[in-house]
Amino acid sequence: MVDNAWLIPLFPLASFFLLLLFGKRFGSRSAEVGSLFTFVSFICAAVVFTKSLHESSYKQTFNWLTVGDAQITVGFELNPLNVLMLVLVSFISFLVHMYSKGYMNGEKRISIFYAYLGLFTFAMLALVMSPNLLQLYIFWELVGLGSFLLIGFYFHKQEAKRAAKKAFIMTRIGDMGLLIGMILLFWQTRSFEYSVIFQAVEAGDISQSLLTFIAIMIFVGAVGKSGQFPLHTWLPDAMEGPTPVSALIHAATMVAAGVYLVAATYPLFQASEVALLVVAVTGGLTALFAASIAVVQTDVKRVLAYSTMSQLGFMFLALGTAGYVAAVFHLVTHAFFKALLFLAAGSVIHAVHTQNIEKMGGLWKKLRWTGPLFLIGTLAISGVPLLSGFFSKEEILLSVWDNGNYFLFTLALLTSLLTAFYMFRLFFSIFGGEEKTPIHAVKESPMIMWLPMIILAVFSIGIGYVQTPWFGTFLGDWLTNENSHHEFSLWLMLIATIVSGIGIGIAYILHRKSSLLTEGESSAYRVVANKYYIDELYERTMIVSTKAVSRSLVYIERYVIDGFLLVVIRITRMFAKKATKLQSGQVQQYGAIAFLSLAVLVVVYLVAGGYLR
């Protein structure tokens, strides 16, 4: 089975082609087709997972291209990190496939939707199996394509079009960093293989400054994909896509690819302290920055989007402070509870047909399943003890504390507080209080939608126990292939719990005052509500200057280049006219010209002594 693991991504790919070509015939049964293929993929991934708990990593490659004396290979690699991602991605993708059957019910282009989901799942699964950077880059771009297609799924909407384009271009800016880093590594090591690169790094074959530059460039790629500051602006806009897509791509899997990338190339970062610091600071600042924006948003999906940014920032913060296991752990727990939250939010939107939390309220009694499930997700992300988010967040705090950077530690604590606050603000405004606008016929979603949510909820509660101070550090041992003893720090847990409690408390008090923090006069409020004017800043700098360059080049094209062309044409014409006049029919004139020409040739011959040399 393990040597046939390359089949895992091919099932969703088959689903993509099948649905793209014969989608019309399948009609609404496309949902079953897509889900079935993803399910097979998940089963295979699970089998590989159980096998690899005991086996060491497995790698298989074959030649793809020759560049000079270097062979570029493709293949697949199964190491603990890859297998973990494999099973995580296929599992959540399958659940989202299931859920979408209910959510997208009645959509005319449902076969296209499932085709795109298949394409994305294929690319994401292939990405996490890549044994080298080039292959990772290939699928890295393809997951971007999947994301682009699904954001723009409602293509007739102007906002969807803009958001899709923005997502593609913003992430491509990041991708260029990855491309630069990757090519520079190639010329240092003559290979894209992780193993070869790590050997070269260990042996010190690459100079320190270049290594730092390369690591930062690779990190730029991660920043773009994971929606970190300053390349984050596409992620909130990406919420234009259907909600299940937001759950799968823009919360659980693709945006976590950036974290995966840094984790997969971790030896590069470990070799450069500067690069680690850049990762940590970017992550920490983004975590706080995004959390602060989430506090004042009124669109439920946007709150969750900023929350995703913030949580991803947390993971980078962990990576930057040598908390490899902590980051991967949080990636896993976050995938479950954030997918749960998005699906639950989708269920709410499905019921009330609005995304604006100001128009919601009092839904607890009406949505018997969704309410408690949303609460579980909220508790998990807020770091309430004994749920998964608590353990992973505590692990991250510990890693930051051990690193000794108190500035970053403060950032992390503040973010924790804000997280608990904005999540409960969201929860109370949707489910608590009274109905603000009378919404008729609010119905709970069908089973096909709440069943996946229940599964996710179970994991959101329980997955944390794979890595706890009390029962053992299975995840860490497996990932790092050694028995690590886990430091137990009660005071940190207490602080984390208290901080979350304060956040929840503030949210509750504000809820009682029925304030949503949506109106304010202060300039600070305006800055945050306008997302720190980053979009406007880019609009006025990057976009305007690009357009200015283009326009000035249009003038160069019109007057200089075309002008040159016209001059050439005019000279040609002039010669033609002169030459026409010579055709006078007078033999004397012909003779004179012939004689003159001969004279010139003779002179040239005498002066130059033959040919021009």
Binding site: N63, W64, L65, T66, V67, G68, L134, Y137, I138, F139, E141, L142, L145, G152, F155, H156, Q158, A160, K161, A164, K165, F168, I169, R172, I173, M176, L179, I180, I183, L184, F186, W187, T546, K547, V549, S550, R551, L553, V554, E557, V560, I561, D562, F564, L565, V568, I569, T572, G610, Y611, L612, R613
Partner: protein, 504 residues
């Protein structure tokens, strides 16, 4: 058989020409079919050659050499002195371009079904153009190359000038002037070499000029050699075209009929790349090495310049035209790197752009046929009513912007790989162009397919025979993107030989 296969390949379109010539000019349907059938014969022969290559037959065994022209009688010195033979030969590098020519000619002939007038003249010229293109890629001496080059030139002039959009005559005239200058420069170089060295055979020239153990009748000074090299490169830079010689090509792309542009963008521009690599690098390796940095800089400028201009065009044809300028910049700087990765990237990009540009202009034909316009401002929301066309246009756009899994990615990637090795800073600047490429492609494609609807109910989606070019071109694009080795192997050997000559 081997002795006649290459001439047969070059002149096989003549069969179609005779068939068309015998038909009355009012038989629209038959003429179109004959035109298409005429392109099948060269396609089959070229596929046969490829199949032979796959089974391990040496391509050089097809070489032919027939006595043709002799100047004076110098047999007492050397039999071959001042003779020009009719000689054709084949290697992996030229086979790649021949396959590109035959496949695209067949598809462009299909796309020519939209031609509305004077079918007889059109298809006669079309097949004549194919003869020219095939000859260019097989000619083994410079004079023969030049003659075939002029055949393409003349036939293309009429094709542009008679069967295009509003300003077609003007575009054809610009084409004539600019390419005429290129031809003059080329002829000057060829004539000088012939007079000085006594041969125009490419292998012989390479040997005599670079190994240098043969006494020349009239020795060439280093200065003159440099000049000849520069003139040769200007001639091919006009053809490719690179900045600042590109404006004629933009006009041709805008005004000529889409099938003609398919061939023009797909094959004819590549003659520039072919000539630079085969003759430039072959005959003047030392001079090319000296000019390499210039090539890289000009290539990067072309790449960025085309991308910036494509970003603000309002006509889809012009977006694709400037995109061609930009993509040819990649060929140019890939060539300028003079290393394995870069050269391979240049060749890949030439082929890849051939397929992608042909597809994009085929889609222009489909679009214009339905909507009567290619103005971005007049189009929008086509995905609603023409979902298949929109899907194909989007996929073609993604291929053009270098999405992995398709040919554009691997060629751009290798060209950049090469550039990073030689000039890191320049390469980092050039990377901006990759972002711009995504921006202008998505801007144009999404403008047409997404958003507000503008359509009429009578427009039909892609249907019937229109699927053939789309399917074949996608197959080529994806085949190169997914498994580039099959193309790489064809040219790998030749690249190694060229690089040995410059001692790198």
């Amino acid at each position: 058989m081997n002795d006649y296969l290459l001439p047969l390949l070059v002149f096989s379109p003549v069969i179609g020409m005779i068939m068309i010539w015998l038909m009355p000019k009012t038989e629209e349907k038959t003429l179109k079919q004959f035109g298409w059938i005429g392109t099948l014969m060269p396609l089959l022969i070229s596929l046969f050659l490829y199949q032979q290559w796959l089974t391990g037959v040496s391509l050089s065994s097809y070489q032919i050499k027939w006595n043709w022209i002799q100047f004076g009688n110098l047999a007492m010195y050397d039999d071959t002195l001042y003779t020009i033979d009719f000689e054709l030969s084949l290697d992996g590098f030229s086979l790649v371009f021949i396959l590109l020519t035959t496949v695209l000619s067949m598809l462009a002939a299909l796309a020519s079904f939209y031609i509305k007038t004077e079918w007889k003249g059109y298809f006669l010229l079309f097949l004549l153009l194919e003869i020219g293109m095939l000859g260019v890629f097989m000619a083994d001496n410079l004079l023969l190359f030049f003659l075939f080059f002029e055949v393409t030139f003349v036939s293309l002039f009429f094709l542009i000038g008679r069967w295009g959009y509003v300003n077609k005559e003007k575009a054809a005239y610009h084409f004539l002037v600019y390419n005429g200058i290129g031809s003059v420069l080329l002829l000057f170089v060829i004539a000088t070499l012939f007079v000085r060295v006594g041969t125009t055979n490419i292998d012989a020239l390479t040997h005599i000029l670079n190994v240098g153990d043969v006494a020349l009748l009239a020795p060439i000074s280093p200065f003159l050699t440099d000049m000849l090299c520069i003139l040769l490169f200007i001639a091919f830079a006009i053809k490719l075209p690179v900045f600042p010689f590109h404006s004629w090509m933009v006009r041709v792309h805008r005004e000529a009929a889409p099938p003609v542009v398919m061939l023009h963008a797909g094959v004819l521009l590549k003659i520039g790349a072919y000539g630079m690599i085969r003759f430039g690098l072959g005959i003047f390796p030392e001079q090319v090495e000296k000019l390499a940095l210039l090539f890289m800089i000009v290539g990067v400028i072309s790449f960025l310049y085309g991308a910036f201009l494509a970003l603000v065009q309002t006509d889809l044809k012009l977006v694709w035209a400037y995109s061609s300028v930009s993509h040819m910049g990649i060929v140019f700087f890939g060539f300028g790197t003079l290393n394995d990765a870069g050269l391979q990237g240049a060749v890949f990009q030439a082929v890849s752009h051939g397929a992608i540009a042909a597809l994009l202009f085929f889609l222009i034909a489909l679009l214009y046929e339905r909507t009567g316009t290619t103005e971005l401002n007049e189009l929008g929301g086509l995905a609603e009513h023409l979902p298949i066309f929109s899907g194909v246009l989007l996929t073609a756009g993604l291929a053009a912007l270098g999405l992995p899994g398709m040919s554009g990615f691997i060629s751009e990637f290798m060209a950049f790989l090469g550039l990073f090795k030689e000039q890191m800073l320049l390469a980092i600047i050039a990377v901006i162009g990759l972002i711009l490429t995504a921006a202008y492609t998505l801007r144009a494609v999404l403008k047409i397919t997404f958003g507000k609807k503008t359509y009429s109910m009578t427009w039909r989606d892609v249907q019937g025979i229109e699927y053939v070019p789309i399917a074949i071109l996608f197959m080529v694009i994806v085949a190169i993107g997914v498994y580039p080795m099959w193309l790489g192997q064809l040219v790998q050997e030749d690249i190694t030989t060229w690089l040995l000559r410059i001692g790198g």
